[in-house]
Amino acid sequence: MAGLYVHVPFCRKKCSYCGFVSCPAPAEVIKRYFDALEQEILLRAREPSIKEMYFDSLFIGGGTPSFVHHEYLCRIIERLYSNFHIAHGPALEGTVECNPDSLTLEWLEVLKPYGINRISIGVQAMDDRMLHVLGRVHDSRQVLDAVNSVRTVGIENISIDLMYSIPGQDMGALEQSLERALALMPVHVSCYELTLEDGTVMSEAVRNGRAVYPDQETRLAFTRLAESILESRGLRQYEISNFAVPGYECRHNIGYWQGREYLGLGCSACSFIKGRRIRNDIRLDSWIAALENGKPPIQEVEELDFEAAFREAFVMAMRMNRGVAIQDFRESYNMDPVEYYGDLIPDMEARGLMEFRRNGTCLALTERGRYISNYVLSNFV
């Protein structure tokens, strides 16, 4: 089973922290984009290795998919169904990312029959002051409306994105924001730190001293607070930045960490097929131009050698709270990670950053290891 990702690189306005491929665009560009996307579907559907793939998750991400007219999305989903093997009904996890300002009841009603049964809402904070700092176009009242709309059409699988370590945020503000967000009763939360991406308005502001990014001690305190509140509401952490009511973990995202294959369509989308990591062109115009000329819009293909692939798989799997099942690795790679990494694992164990669990059959990050996962995992990559 594999995952299918479609990227929609359009937004009403670029957020101050956003370093990803997404921007406001004229209607004409949006139309050309979806025409090109159709071409990409037809092009990729001919590839033998893709013909063999069976998809049980569909993720339409962005950007802001809810910002574009439902007609575009419906047409694309139809094309996906007619060209790829995609599971139906409850066997499919069908997610669309939405922003509270653009999500309407009508839009949801149209999309739902196309297999969309999970909505991920970019809430970021239930705190209008923080939303303003982040350059978001919505306020917290619109979040309530958006969640109500999703429930009204009968979709219960609601995920929300929440962010912390925002300049100007303090512990009280974060706690209040989290409480208000959890009052919406999401079954899944992606809770992560603000990352300063080069070239964004936010990173410039921090560089110029107009905004203050919290120091490590404060960020650690924020992380601990967020984790404890989420856990206390039954949202169990299953990955470094993901929490879910048991049974509602995101199949699509877990696929990324566990080395499942996926096909990504759209500008800047990434695929992982038969051991090859493929990245589509990240420039909107050249991505469209390639497809208009009947060419694959691929910018980069990376094929890792066996060992590098093994290390990558180990590092990504370690992001999961349950860690790495050593036996699984032995079976998939015919190589034992404990033997392969030699002194490294005992060393990490001695420093209290990794631990064996379940009678030594599983290896996972400790709490401290999780907080400094980049430091720990960079040794294993």
């Binding site: 995952g3 990702y5 990227h7 990803f20 991400g61 994105d161 370590s165 992606s190 992560y192 730190e193 990352t195 490590q216 001690e217 960020r219 650690l220 992380t223 470094i240 930045s241 995202n253 696929g255 990324y256 996926y262 990504g264 800047s268 989308a269 990434c270 695929s271 992982f272 990591r277 990245r279 980069e300 990376e302 990558e312 590092v315 990504m316 420093r351 907080y371 400094i372 996962s373 980049n374 430091y375 995992l377 960079s378 040794n379 990559v381």
Partner: protein, 604 residues
């Protein structure tokens, strides 16, 4: 004499150099001369033809002297043989300049007509005047709107004291004035003296190592004739060789049968080791030797020292090989094996100055594919022990215990600084801060001032150039020469990381400045050393006395980022970058220290 390989009529030979400050257009002018005389077709022409090393082209400076033999048909209808002997323009390489000048009868003094006379130009002109060279003034860059040739000509007359009334106006960039320059060379520069029938006396003025031919020796034949196949002898050590190849560069290599009195060219004699050749030596015939050698040159001496270590200790053998090869090729470079508890095995290397140091490091890294850590540059100190013994210390870590030292002396230089008058205050402030003593101050023109200072050399190798440049917005130029050793109140300052001294970070400082430098260094290190899993304490200390202290709290939290659209590659590459960074760190005790820490000392 259409064929350049033919031996020239001595009366029609002109040997000349070009003297210019960096960026005043020396290499561009050389290019124009090569083009104008048809020595290089425009198809072959690369910019800055004579700067052959990749590094020379990139930095726009000349490091090694080059020679080119040029044919020129003058307006008088005769063919002349011009030997252009290119010279480096930086203070670090002035020893090469003086050697090149010894091979010439004349020099082009190229001055940027938008700038004026700079210190280095002046120093080289004085060298040329000492060698009795005829000087032709060229005012370059007259195509630029800011050119002021009259003012600059006046400067040449006032500052240097030579007649600039017939200075040639030129634009090397556009080729203006090239012909006038060539005519002036022919008319004003005297032909070489010397007799082809006397016993051979050829002056060695440069050499380099060629992997296929061994040492290539640049020579000026003063008397006699050097023929291919001749048995020759070095007059300093009476070593004999056979002249396997004789020739010149036109500018590509051209073999000839002989080089006669007055000519400049090269010699290959199966000499394996460039170190066997003494620059300034006289080559003579082994069969019929000359009675006495030509006057030679002062030997060059390393002035600045630093440790060079491989980032990867596994590269030590490669570094050793590279250092040995470079040593063969660069008589101004010296080295000794040294070891550091922080950096492992490496070399203490000696250089002429900071630019020379930078260039050697870059050549080692580039030409030998090494990745190196260099420690802070230091000068050589003389230490007198209470036992009466005297030591020369090249590395602060070797400094004996304070109780055993009776006195330490440090090298002083005399520096000349040329600066527009509005920056005089700033420069004087800088020199005071650097423990300088002013010995002279002269208004050269209404606008430009010459400052003379005696300065401890150790203060110069720190950040003097950078500071001077920013204080004067790049409008100052300097020249210096070594003066003497003077006793000073110097102390060794150690840097301790988690209470363990890091030998590669030790510095020798004046006691009055120890506190400030210690504080600066420690705070800089705090910013450079990344957080570790435990607290790190950095201290600066003299003996047991701690002058400054900072702590780096332990690593608590990485950034938890979201993974967008399955971009695992990006995530992995970020981790790989972090891993690479870690690999380039040096372990001191349990603390991982990035390389920049060792360089940071340079900037404090």
């Amino acid at each position: 004499m259409k064929n350049p390989a033919m031996t020239a009529d001595r009366k029609r030979i002109r040997n000349f150099s070009i003297i210019a400050h960096i960026d005043h257009g020396k290499s561009t002018l050389a290019d124009r001369i090569l083009e104008f005389t048809g020595s290089v077709s425009s198809r072959q022409m690369k910019k800055q033809f004579l700067d052959q090393m990749e590094l020379e082209r990139e930095r726009g400076i000349t490091i090694k002297a080059q020679t080119v033999r040029i044919n020129y048909k003058a307006e008088d209808g005769h063919n002349y043989l011009l030997n252009l002997i290119d010279t480096p323009g930086h203070v670090d390489f002035s020893y090469e300049v003086s050697r090149s000048l010894a091979a010439c009868e004349g020099a082009l003094l190229v001055v940027d007509s938008t700038q004026g006379v700079e210190a280095q130009t002046l120093a080289n002109v004085y060298l040329a005047l000492e060698n009795d060279l005829e000087i032709i003034s060229v005012l370059n860059k007259i195509d630029l709107p800011s050119a002021d040739p009259e003012r600059v000509a006046e400067e040449i007359e006032n500052i240097i004291g030579i007649d600039a009334s017939d200075a040639i106006l030129a634009s090397a960039k556009e080729g203006t004035g090239t012909k006038d320059i060539l005519e002036a060379i022919v008319k004003k520069i005297p032909s070489p003296e010397g007799s082809p029938s006397d016993p051979l006396q050829a002056l060695v003025f440069d050499s380099w190592f060629d992997p296929y031919q061994g040492a290539v020796v640049l020579i000026r034949v003063v008397n006699g004739c050097l023929k291919k196949g001749m048995d020759i002898m070095m007059m300093s050590d009476r070593q004999r060789y056979e002249a396997l190849k004789v020739g010149a560069f036109i500018p590509e290599i051209m073999e000839m049968d002989e080089l006669s009195a007055g000519e400049v060219g090269f010699l290959v004699a199966g000499i394996k080791n460039v170190r066997d050749i003494k620059i300034g030596d006289t080559i003579t015939s082994a069969i019929k030797p000359a009675a006495k050698p030509l006057p030679g040159f002062k030997p060059v001496k390393s002035m600045v020292f630093c440790g060079l270590y491989p980032v990867d200790p596994g590269q030590y053998d490669q570094l050793k090989e590279a250092v040995e090869k470079l040593w063969l090729n660069d008589p101004a470079f010296s080295y000794d094996i040294e070891s550091s508890s922080a950096l492992g095995f490496g070399f203490r290397c000696g250089f002429l100055g900071l630019l020379h140091m930078e260039i050697v490091k870059e050549r080692l890294e580039r030409e030998f594919e090494l990745s190196l850590i260099s420690t802070a540059p230091a000068v050589a100190y003389k230490v007198e022990l209470t036992s009466g013994e005297e030591l020369t210390i090249h590395n602060p870590a070797q400094m004996p215990e304070t109780s055993k030292i009776s006195k330490i002396s440090e090298p002083f230089i005399e520096m000349e600084i040329y600066v527009p008058k509005q920056y005089v205050g700033g420069v004087m402030g800088l020199c005071d801060e650097k423990r300088g003593r002013q010995t002279d101050m002269t208004y050269l023109t209404a606008e430009r001032v010459l400052l003379k200072y005696e300065l401890p050399f150790n203060e110069i190798v720190l950040d003097f150039y950078d500071r001077l440049k920013s204080i004067t917005r790049g409008y100052a130029s300097i020249d210096y020469e070594f003066l003497d050793y003077r006793t000073a109140d110097l102390v060794k300052m150690d840097i301790l990381i988690n209470r363990q001294p890091v030998d590669a970070l030790s510095v020798i400082v004046h006691r009055d400045k120890a506190y400030y430098r210690g504080r600066d260094l420690v705070s800089k290190l705090r910013k450079i050393i990344p957080r570790q899993l435990f607290e790190v304490v950095i201290q600066a200390a003299i003996g047991n006395k701690v002058l400054a202290k900072e702590r780096i709290p332990p690593l608590r939290k990485d950034v938890t980022a979201k993974c967008y659209g399955g971009d695992i590659t990006r995530k992995r590459k970020l981790l790989e970058k972090q891993k690479e960074g870690k690999k380039r760190m040096k372990q001191v005790g349990a603390v991982e220290i990035p390389q920049e820490a060792f360089l940071s000392i340079l900037k404090v």
